[in-house]
């Protein structure tokens, strides 16, 4: 469903994404892990068509998102890491606007808006300006906006930031149901428990490159540790701080 072929993005002299190759199939949740500044957000933004790659390509259901951006984007729903939306629209107006961008209108959209707002407990704030929403409410509104057109691919950058436990649980359920229905969810996260419990397959990115990918078992083999949890695997692969370093900085 998603194919990344030698995907590269540079900002001046800095290479944020250095030739990533990935293939993500249908009906699965794919997790993208990596330390801060590894290139996760840049990768997701290129998949969503927000950033143009310097070289390489992104195919969504066979559509190149530079050569055929409209066809590729029609299939996609994107949730950014920071919930910036139009403050001066109401929640319902924002969802109607989003539906309109995907060519949807009429009573079906109204039903869908109500369904999504109900799902995320936002119905009481339907006609309130977004500027009065909390961070978590905005996050839920953006997730609703990404789902309004029933996409086949969902690209979600740091989905749990700002969500309360009930909403986080709900989002996991939504993503699972989405994948069970044949959808592809690509999720970038720092929450390793989430990745371990939710994702069917994972890729670890570091310094703009994929350093490991596959199922949890594949990653265990990669890290030469058959029983390790994802946290240990992640630290091994990305060479996290050692105990002695931590003790030196934080200890007495």
């Amino acid at each position: 469903m998603i194919l990344l072929d030698s995907l590269t993005k540079r900002y001046g002299d800095f290479t944020a994404v250095a030739g990533i190759d990935l293939e993500i199939g249908e009906a699965q949740i794919f997790g993208l892990l990596g330390p801060n500044g590894a290139g996760k957000t840049t990768t997701l933004r290129m998949i969503a068509g927000i950033l143009r790659p310097d070289s390489g390509r992104v195919l969504v259901a066979g559509y190149d998102n530079v050569a055929n951006p409209i066809e590729a984007r029609k299939l996609l729903g994107f949730v950014p890491d920071r919930p910036f939306v139009y403050d001066k629209l109401t929640g319902a107006e924002l969802l109607r606007f989003s539906a309109g961008l995907y060519g949807l209108t009429g009573p079906d959209v109204e039903t869908r808006v109500d369904e999504l707002l109900e799902l995320w407990d936002l119905a009481p704030w339907k006609d309130q300006l977004v500027e009065s929403y909390s961070h978590g409410m905005r996050q839920k509104l953006i997730i609703s906006s990404a789902l309004i057109h029933k996409p086949r691919v969902l690209v979600v950058d740091e989905p749990m930031v700002g969500l309360d436990p009930r909403s986080a649980w709900l989002l996991k359920d939504v993503l699972r149901t989405f994948a069970e229905g044949g959808g592809t969810a690509l999720v970038s996260t720092h929450t390793l428990e989430l990745a371990e419990s939710l994702c069917d397959r994972l890729a670890v990115i570091d310094k703009g490159r994929v350093v490991a990918s596959g199922s949890i078992d594949d990653l265990r083999r990669e890290a030469s540790s058959e029983t390790a949890g994802l946290e240990e695997i992640f630290l091994k692969i990305t060479r996290g701080a050692t105990d002695s370093e931590i003790s030196r900085v934080v200890g007495d």
Partner: protein
């Protein structure tokens, strides 16, 4: 940590940020050139004009010194008003809306150091422009009255408390205002008051018709004006104390009590402000976090607009509706309509009071020339409106651009929607402005059609140009729509628009030169031939089409390749 150390510590990031803003960022050279250019033009202009005026006044017995000191008092009074208003607005940001406040509030800091740093921030951000204006003004008094170095020291001693007083009053008033309203609502209210005040001042200055002062027939009014100047001044205002102290020193009647009055008042207002801050700030800060009542009622106007847009594609409809909704819900955007209204009223008023039929020297030639002048000025007004409302269109998307970037939208749909959101009201304004002023001027039918068609074509071209410059020089970080047109891109757009306008007016005058000459004394007056009007119209349309379509295409290409 002592209050003094905390004060320095809290101000350090602000100073560093300001310094880095000055030396980094795209367009810094353009901004530097603009600031230096405006400064290089404005300072000598103020200084030379005021010096000449003061020299003339110094030569007038009795009334001269009186007028000089009244002029200083009047200047300081205007500055005091500006300072009070800008401090009120700046205090809202620095005390209640600044992004670093939660962090500052959570830190173990003395309340007095927080108050003093925020007061200093408010003072500096509100007063720097007034100080820049005061420098050439006081320098002119210094030169004309040979003030010496003592005057320099005295000026600093008088100006510093003059700046502190409105800052302390403004901050305290803001505190009390937030006690009554949530901070964001207060900001809206203050924003509208500020814009309306500026509009009112411009309107009043124009309606006073200062040009009559050079008209001998209105000397009687000047005498009345002088009588008003001799009237009671404002003994309770710091501007009067400052003016009396400075003018008194220069004219040989210095009263040190006025300086004492200024400084004690400054310290007194700061003390009162600090006491209010200590007792009210915590509660007010909590209040400032509350939102306003944001439930939106569904107006019939939206339904009407939706119906009006029904012919457009769904995506374009949604983009237009979104832009129009946001415009009318954002105070920083719609309040600019007040300034626009004032601009238009002043313009129409200027046309109305033109002495076209009163003077003996006015020829038919000059009257016809006014028609072209009207086209040039209307065009300039339209360019200014486009700079204010169309140029910021893409910048206002700011951090929400991801939504458009990830949607199945073509660049031409986004740009097209923004184009029509700008072009329709601008064209309506063009028709209204030119139609009404043509009516006031009594322009013949052929020329009226030409000027109407020209302003419509110009407004369509200006919309395209404004969008283009906005796409090439977006200001995505800006939080205030009113600040976006003052960026380097806004300036470049205005320059481009003036060039377009010059080409159009120049072309029309060249084509219609024979007709224009026919209005000179001793020639046979005639109306323009149809072929002349037709040729001028074709040239204008061609010029506007080229200057609109080429930039628009460039903007499309740029937007298509833009990383959102």
């Amino acid at each position: 940590m002592s209050v003094r150390r905390e004060f320095v510590l809290l101000l350090t990031p602000k100073v560093l940020s300001a310094r880095r803003r000055g030396i980094a960022g795209r367009g810094r050279w353009g901004r530097a050139v603009m600031v230096l250019g405006v400064g290089a033009a404005a300072w000598p202009f103020i200084y030379v004009t005021l010096t000449r005026l003061l020299r003339t006044l110094r030569g007038v017995e009795e009334v001269g010194p009186l007028l000089a000191s009244k002029l200083l008092a009047l200047g300081l009074l205007v500055f005091l008003g500006i300072l009070l208003l800008s401090n009120l607005i700046a205090a809202l940001s620095s005390f209640f809306l600044s992004r670093d406040l939660p962090w500052i509030r959570a830190a173990p800091l003395d309340w007095l150091s927080v108050y003093l740093t925020r007061l200093t921030e408010t003072l500096v951000s509100s007063s720097w422009m007034v100080v820049l204006m005061l420098v050439p003004m006081l320098a002119a008094y210094w030169t004309v009255y040979d003030g010496g170095w003592t005057f320099l020291a005295l000026s600093i001693l008088a100006v510093v408390p003059f700046l502190i007083i409105p800052a302390a009053i403004g901050s305290a008033t803001t505190l009390l205002l937030v006690r009554l309203f949530p901070a964001r609502r207060s900001k809206d209210i203050l924003g509208i008051i500020a814009v309306a005040s500026v509009g009112l001042v411009v309107l009043l200055l124009r309606v006073l018709r200062p040009e009559r002062l050079v008209n001998p027939e209105s000397y009687r009014n000047l005498v009345d004006f002088m009588a008003a100047l001799r009237g009671p001044s404002s003994p309770w205002l710091p501007s009067q104390w400052g003016a009396d102290a400075l003018a008194g020193f220069l004219q040989g009647g210095f009263d040190p009590f006025l300086l004492v009055l200024l400084w004690t008042t400054a310290l007194g207002t700061v003390t009162v402000g600090a006491i209010l801050h200590r007792s009210l700030y915590a509660a007010c800060f909590t209040r400032a976090q509350e939102g306003t009542e944001n439930r939106i009622q569904h107006h019939a106007a939206w339904k009407w607009l939706e119906r009006a847009l029904s012919g457009a594609s769904l995506q374009r409809q949604q983009l237009v509706l979104k832009d129009v909704r946001i415009f009318f819900r954002d105070t920083t955007q719609w309040s600019q309509l007040i300034i626009l209204g004032v601009l238009v009223v002043v313009y129409v008023y200027n046309i109305r009071v033109l002495p076209l039929s009163s003077g003996e020297m006015i020829t038919r030639y000059l009257i016809t020339l006014v028609v072209f002048l009207n086209l040039a000025l209307s065009g300039f007004v339209l360019a200014a409106i486009a700079a204010r409302f169309v140029f910021p269109a893409l910048s206002l998307e700011g951090q929400t651009l991801w939504l458009l970037g990830s949607a199945p939208l073509e660049a031409r749909t986004i740009l097209g929607a923004k184009y029509w959101v700008g072009a329709v009201p601008l064209t309506a304004m063009a028709l209204l402005l030119t139609g009404f002023t043509n009516y006031l001027l009594g322009v013949p039918a052929g020329l009226a059609v030409l000027s109407l068609a020209s302003t419509v074509a110009l407004s369509l071209a200006f919309t395209a140009q404004a969008l283009t410059w906005g796409v090439y020089f977006p200001e995505f970080e800006s939080e205030n729509a009113a600040q976006i047109p003052t960026s380097i891109g806004g300036l470049l757009f205005m320059l481009g628009a003036v060039v377009t306008l010059g080409c159009v007016v120049g072309l029309q005058i060249w084509i219609l030169r024979e007709f224009l000459m026919s209005g000179l004394p001793g020639r046979e007056p005639r109306n323009p031939f149809m072929w002349e009007v037709g040729l001028a119209l074709s040239g204008t349309l061609m010029c506007c089409a080229v200057s609109g379509i080429l930039p628009y295409r460039a903007a499309l290409r740029r937007l298509d390749r833009l990383d959102f």
